[in-house]
């Protein structure tokens, strides 16, 4: 890895650097007033870096800090997609939120989240990864909480609690990974290479999967997503559901030891992912709000990606990272475009707008010639030809169902305000880029040629699950309103039943503290502590009553 200062390295540093610099500039009145309009420009260095600097590296701080940036192929794909969506969603936000009284604060959270999420695809050392992950994860709180409604407050609190829980899992995992390393801050690749032989392998893998699954929203850790994504303003929903969930994906790509291959962990991840994929569809079709349906679709798609990663881990296939990133890029752009589209094409929209939304939605189910088909085709190899492949294929049926449901709910939603070019252009650009980027990258990512894609067998493989889904949708639609209404965030209701318990615990702590702080009690405790400490010291020295007796 070259540590010298070069153009590629500078671009890498500028990728998170420019958003942070813009954020710092908000301390002054002048730039603060223009902050919202600067949002589209902040991710441009990252976009350039993704296009020009794959393979580049930069050591930001030498030993012993070892803060290091490096861009590999999976990182570059996700970085490029994320930068593009951040930029276009920023453009969208500048117009969408022009009259929002708190837009400057929104822009500040936006930039902080952006800096963290872009850095996440670039960092090569453990400490920087944790830093970037925390920044992206915690700053997104501001985006979720922006609307200040009770629903947003509830969603943001839940988001924060679970994000912190995820951080705790990851921190412990990282500490266990780094223990025994000579350097205080090892490179991720070095630490992961030693993971298969670590005495704590099982614990580390469990903690890593828990931490990243929380971010990806794998069942049952998905409960925050259907609450948090829809309450944010439209462009923020796009960023959250498109980009921030990919923090979990890049985490698994970076930290799972694909070279060694771990059968058990891989199988568990496949099972977890596939269960998530179907569970989210089942709950999603009972939802009415189009943004909530989209959030469940994200949960379902992240389930598929987890299954891809799990299958690759079980096989020990080193292409897994690239393939998962390719699939994630498809979801990133398509889901971003769908959320932006809800803001322009809800209700009675123009026919061409509805057509584009339909194409985007069905792309998630793998509609032939769309990015979805390419992504699904690329990852199929990893599943062999057994039961897992059948389930993955059938997940497209589920997606078809969910997306048809989404389109129906979208048409019935209150009409969106008539959108001008300022909203339409970014939306269309993200939609178009999903197609272009996935087609251009297909040979690089999958290693196959375009010829395979237009073979009739490939098209049929993509089409039959969707036809099945469409056929199943007809009876579902007839059932319509008679489906049970599952509350948004489903299992969260069970979790929230614990809240009074937590209240009681903290009230109990307060009462206990009051008791301890009474003078005679504290005095008695003082004497008790002397006796205990004296006994413990004697025992530690081996001259206690045990030895004496």
């Amino acid at each position: 890895m070259s540590g010298s200062l070069n153009l590629a390295g500078l671009l890498l540093a500028a990728a998170p650097g420019l958003p942070l610099a813009l954020l710092a500039s908000a301390l002054w009145r002048g730039p603060r007033a223009r902050l919202m309009r600067l949002l589209p420009f902040a991710p441009l260095p990252a976009l350039l870096a993704a296009l020009l600097a794959p393979g580049g590296a930069l050591v930001l701080a030498p030993d012993p800090l070892r803060l290091t940036l490096a861009l590999d192929l999976p990182g570059a794909m996700l970085l490029g997609g994320a930068a593009l969506l951040w930029s276009l969603a920023g453009l969208y936000a500048a117009s969408y939120m022009a009259r929002d009284a708190r837009r400057t604060g929104f822009a500040a959270w936006w930039l902080a989240t952006m800096a963290g999420s872009l850095a996440l695809f670039l960092v090569a050392d453990l400490a920087s990864f944790y830093l970037a992950f925390s920044l992206a994860s915690l700053a997104a709180y501001g985006l979720v909480a922006h609307e200040r409604t009770p629903a947003a407050g509830r969603a943001a609190t839940l988001y924060m609690v679970l994000a912190l829980l995820g951080e705790a899992f990851l921190l412990l995992a990282f500490v266990m990974l780094a223990t025994g390393e000579a350097a205080g801050n090892p490179m991720i690749a070095e630490a992961v290479a030693r993971l298969p032989t670590s005495p704590w392998r099982g614990a580390i893998l469990t903690l890593l999967i828990l931490g990243f699954a929380l971010k990806m929203g794998l069942v049952p850790l998905h409960v925050w997503m259907p609450l948090a994504h829809p309450v944010a303003p439209m462009p923020a929903s796009a960023a959250l559901s498109g980009i921030i969930v990919k923090a979990g994906v890049i985490g698994l790509i970076r930290f799972l030891p694909f070279e060694a291959g771990l059968e058990t962990a891989g199988t568990v991840l496949v099972a977890l992912g596939l269960f998530t994929a179907f569970y989210a569809v089942a709950v999603g079709v009972t939802q009415h709000h189009p943004k909530v349906v989209l959030a469940y679709s994200t949960v379902s798609q992240m389930g598929v990606i987890a299954a891809v990663l799990g299958a690759g881990l079980a096989l020990g296939d080193t292409r897994t990272g690239t393939l998962a990133a390719y699939y994630a890029l498809h979801h990133l752009l398509v889901k971003g475009a769908l959320f932006l589209g809800v803001g322009v094409a809800a209700g009675r929209a123009l026919p061409w707008q509805r057509a584009i939304m339909a194409l985007l939605a069905l792309s998630l189910a793998g509609l032939p010639f769309t990015s979805g088909m390419l992504a699904k085709y690329a990852v199929k190899d990893l599943f062999g030809d057994g039961f897992a492949l059948l389930l993955v294929t059938l997940s497209a049926t589920g997606s078809t169902l969910l997306m048809l449901h989404f389109l129906r709910r979208l048409a019935r939603a209150p009409d969106a305000k008539p959108a001008g070019t300022a909203l339409l252009a970014p939306w269309l650009a993200v939609a178009a880029s999903s197609l272009v980027a996935l087609w251009v990258l297909f040979p690089v990512a999958s290693g196959a040629g375009y010829g395979a894609l237009i073979a009739p067998s490939a098209l049929w493989k993509a089409a039959w699950p969707m036809l099945l889904g469409a056929a199943l949708y007809l009876p579902l639609r007839r059932l319509g309103g008679r489906l049970p209404r599952i509350p948004e965030g489903d299992a969260v209701v069970l979790g929230e039943a614990l809240v009074p318990l937590a209240r009681q615990a903290s009230a109990g702590a307060e009462r206990l503290d009051e008791l301890i702080r009474r003078w005679p009690v504290a005095g008695a405790l003082l004497v008790l502590v002397i006796l205990l400490l004296g006994a413990a010291l004697q025992l530690s020295a081996g001259i206690g009553p045990l030895r004496a007796g």
Partner: protein, 500 residues
Amino acid sequence: MMPVPVNDAASLLLVLAVLLPILGLCAMLGLRGLHPERVARVAVPLGVALAVAVLVEVWTGGQALHYTLGDWEPPLGLRLRADGLSAVMLVLSAVIILAAALFSQRQFRTPEGIAGDTRAPFTFWSMLMAMWSALNLVFLGEDLFNFFVALELLTFSAVTLVCLDGRTATLHAALRYLLFALLGSVLYLLGVALIYGRYGVLDIGLLHELVQADPVTLAAVAMMTVGLMAKASLFPLHLWLPPAHAGAPPAASAVLSALVVKAPFFLILRLWFDLLPPLPSPLAGQLLAALGAGAILLCSLVALRQARLKLLIAYSTVAQIGYLFLMFPLAAGPLAFWETIGWTGGVLQLVSHAFAKAAMFLAAGLIAETLGHDRIGEFAGLARRLPVAVAAFALAGLSLMGLPPSGGFNAKLLLLSAAAASGQWWIAAVILAGGMLAAGYVFRVLGAAMADGPAGEAGGPPSPLARQLVVLALALVAVALGFVPLQPFALLGIGREVLP
């Protein structure tokens, strides 16, 4: 007997570090025409320079500095000594006191003319000087009885600062603090008596060579430790801290929470690592860590429920002191303790908590001045009104929560690594849970401050920017400590290997 240390020019710095604040105090007492804050304006920067000079001297020299008072060797004479850890503590105190002094220049300015109240400014500045001298004496001392005197001076000045506003509630808090601290002092002194009776010397360096793990010594150490714990407010002996720290003026609270509770902890460190012989079993250390764990879990939960900001911060102090006691079992092991990450993590936690907590108390002071109260429930709109203070609170909160980049994060990471490496998983779990609870109480404040509301309009005029920047600077130091490398520091080992 050891070689006779010669008092050279560098070692004179140690005497000056103790004497300078006392000279300042004398100037304030003797020259009543001279306003005490003007004396402080000269004495504080000089003191900072002295502390930095000691640090540079220790660091570049790679060995501890000594000063033997009047060339009387121990056991009869007294000695001052600055090793790496003492030098760090000296600089830490000097910087925090500098910040407190800058923050208070206007608040405790002696009014012109006869009408004004000169008592509060005089008490504040003179007690600050007395406290500083006592702190430096604790950090530089070598004699167990000398520590007792320094601790008493520290307690008296701290108690006086707590009840500076003269309200009944703070007077009660101060009395409670004084009486409990006295109980601690007597216990400490009792331990000193036993040690002297057993060995006939009080110099830590001499004791280090003589001491044996016999019942008398261990009983003495237990009594001294618990006496010091009462003064450091370790759970479950924290009854006095929340009302005392929440009632003092903000600059005093900052110094009390950042430094004064650390002085007895520093002595516990010296007792356990420099005096006590290595014990075969870590049981006693684990008992201290268990009390620390109790502090972290219980007091963080209680902090979550506080309605007033200053009480919340005070409970957070009790919780954060708990982290310091986790280092006792974590610094044990085959390595020399100063080469372990547990030791480094504990010291880093001490330093970053000092900066973060000072920033928080000063920020709380600005908030209370502007709003006229510190009820968290009525903070809506505050972020708009006092953006710098709220930002400083948030940055300091980062360190308390242990999120990167911050000194608190690095400290937590080192302690976690030490816990993982030695397989003490319960300590790891406590550290992680404590971080989440801290996030809970920090976000409660920030969430309230960032809501839309009327606090943006009501109350007095906003504080001058200079005071807000002092607070921000402290918080930024806490964040900047997040860029220290994650490994044992050579500086903290200086002077440990060869005790005098």
